[in-house]
């Protein structure tokens, strides 16, 4: 396997893909949204139970590639139990990390991202950035009460 592939499919990603965390249905969700990537058919649903400005529970469900599914899985781990304002702040940092044109700007907050830093491999493969980002956009839509998200 070439260097690039190991960079993209890091152990953390493969582990979350094989053993997804936070996957399933949340019957008493207060917020939810479904995101599509019309280009490839990836689909992610994010459900949240928000109580007093805090994400008490978060679940994802859906179908997609390893990058998308592991991004969703890691997201549930990061956001479970956090205040919504912290989650939104993380959303912004992830946007910068995945999409900033300037490499040094993108890497600024990398130390604060923990496992999520494993998603950085997509920066070299622009067509796959949307895969990593779909769950995050869907989360953002759910928080803001929009039912549908897409990354096109």
């Amino acid at each position: 396997m070439s260097w690039d592939l190991r960079d993209l499919y890091q152990e953390t990603i493969l582990d979350h893909q094989k053993h997804p965390r936070g996957k399933g249905n949340l019957p008493d969700a207060t917020h939810s949204a479904t995101g599509f990537n019309p280009l490839c058919g990836d689909k992610v649903t994010i459900q949240l139970r928000i109580n007093d400005g805090k994400i008490d529970e978060i679940r994802f469900d859906g179908e997609g590639c390893a990058i998308c599914m592991s991004s969703a899985s890691m997201m549930t781990v990061s956001l479970q139990g956090t205040p919504v304002s912290d989650a939104e702040d993380l959303f912004q940092r992830i946007q910068k990390f995945l999409t900033a044109n300037d490499e040094s700007a993108a890497m600024e907050d990398i130390d604060s991202l923990g496992d999520l830093a494993a998603l950085g491999g997509v920066r070299r493969l622009p067509v796959r950035i949307k895969c990593a980002n779909l769950p995050w956009h869907t989360f953002n839509s759910a928080v803001h009460g929009e039912q549908n998200a897409k990354t096109e």
């Binding site: 070439s2 690039d4 592939l5 058919g41 990836d42 689909k43 590639c65 990058i67 895969c131």
Partner: protein, 421 residues
């Protein structure tokens, strides 16, 4: 079994005729297996096109000066060539469009829309590309007609019983693909056309995938309309073909208005030009059409005729089927891999999924090995839904692919499998 197949080390079209096939991708020689999306272009054809642009170019049908005449001759010569490729009865049955998609839209808007009434039915199949679905949905919405789709069997073959049962006195249009771009299934075009005609329906056949791989005879099939996508036939982008029976095209109103398609214009009244000009409003893709002519010469050799064309294109189809058979035999060895589409008649397309490895991840990993495949829904979302998969990986084979490309495909899939376990 595998050993019995002759190993083809030299492809039917030499790779060296196609400069883009010699590029390195991610440091690897390119195994281009995405010709069903768009085929690479032979150098002699692009060179002939630039010769034309640099030395003979002018607008067509617009002038008495020498260059305009030369350009018009070059452009119109290609119409005669396409007539031969399709075995049309009349050169005026060949309309140049900007693509297969535009050809379908032209028929939907100019033929179907004025004719359809509420309750009429348009019969499609589950195999269709979005470009042979959405134009019909648009006219259905505008007219109150209904779109119906014939089912397929699990192996990707059209369910003829279901097709037949969905034909009735209300069926006004039947539109189906000759070869499925997502699975490679070859449909019995002549039989389906006869069944559709038996209830009085008009038939459009989507030849986007058959054009580069099969001998087509619109008269033998009985097709009312037949459409081609030239960039999939090793030709330039921005050119499509619409074949229509003369009496149908003559009765249809123009699709677009503009220059070239008129006989006389005043602010009170415009009369339209004869065929084919009526459907070629505005300056056409002159260089593209001339490039198509050069491409057909590359495929079939100089001074080709109907017989040599049919022989050559049949040889291409047979060659690709052999390469496919070898590729499928290699992939079948890979644990957890499913090839979708196993009809009696298959063109050079291998659509597959691998357990635990999403097609997108396969696409990325194969690309790192220099193997270019398409991963996704192939503009066939209803078909993906029918197959119960979100997407597939698709290797499509052209006359420049060889058995080594299949070896590399299989090896790259194997390494992806190891990654995802």
């Amino acid at each position: 079994m595998i050993q019995e197949l002759p190993k083809i080390s030299i492809s039917l079209f030499p790779k060296s005729d196609f400069p883009n096939l010699l590029t390195l991708v991610n440091g690897q020689p390119l195994a281009y297996l995405d010709s069903a999306a768009s085929a690479q272009k032979p150098h002699v054809a692009t060179e002939a096109t630039s010769m034309f642009v640099e030395h003979q170019y002018a607008n067509v049908h617009r002038g008495v000066h020498t260059l305009s005449q030369l350009a018009t001759d070059a452009y119109e010569r290609v119409r005669d060539q396409v007539k031969v490729v399709l075995n049309a009865a009349d050169r005026n049955e060949i309309i140049f469009t900007k693509g297969c998609t535009e050809s379908v839209n032209l028929v939907a808007q100019s033929f179907a829309r004025p004719m359809l009434r509420p309750g009429d039915e348009i019969l499609l199949t589950e195999l269709e590309h979005h470009s042979n679905i959405v134009p019909w949905q648009l006219v259905a919405q505008a007219t109150g007609a209904k779109v119906v789709a014939a089912r397929i069997h699990d192996n990707g073959e059209l369910d003829l019983e279901d097709f037949k049962s969905k034909l009735n006195a209300n069926t006004k249009i039947v539109a189906f693909t000759h070869i499925s771009n997502a699975l490679g299934t070859i449909l019995p075009a002549k039989e389906l056309t006869a069944m559709a005609h038996a209830v009085g329906a008009t038939v459009l056949i989507d030849g986007a995938q058959s054009g580069p791989h099969a001998a087509i005879d619109v008269q033998d099939i009985g097709a009312d309309f037949y459409v081609l996508s030239i960039h999939k036939m090793y030709g330039p982008t921005g050119v499509g073909v619409l074949f229509g029976k003369l009496n149908l095209l003559e009765a249809m109103p123009p699709y677009q208005g503009g220059g070239s398609m008129i006989r006389s214009v005043s602010f009170e009244e415009t009369t339209f030009a004869e065929l084919p000009a009526k459907f070629e409003a505005g300056t056409p893709n002159i260089a593209g059409v001339v490039g198509l002519g050069a491409t057909l010469d590359y495929i079939a050799g100089k001074n080709w005729n109907r017989e040599t064309w049919v022989n050559r294109i049949s040889e291409i189809g047979d060659y690709e089927a052999t390469v496919r058979e070898y590729g499928v035999s290699l992939l079948a060895e890979i644990d957890g891999l499913t090839v979708h589409g196993d009809a009696e008649e298959m063109a050079g397309i291998i659509s597959f999924t691998v357990k635990n490895a999403h097609p997108h991840d396969l696409g990325t990993i194969l690309d790192q090995h220099g193997v270019a495949v398409r991963a996704g829904h192939h503009c066939c979302q209803p078909l993906m839904h029918r197959l119960g998969v979100p997407a597939t990986a698709r290797a499509s084979i052209a006359a420049y692919n060889d058995l080594e490309d299949m070896d590399r495909l299989a090896a790259a899939v194997q390494s992806a499998k190891e990654l995802f376990g």
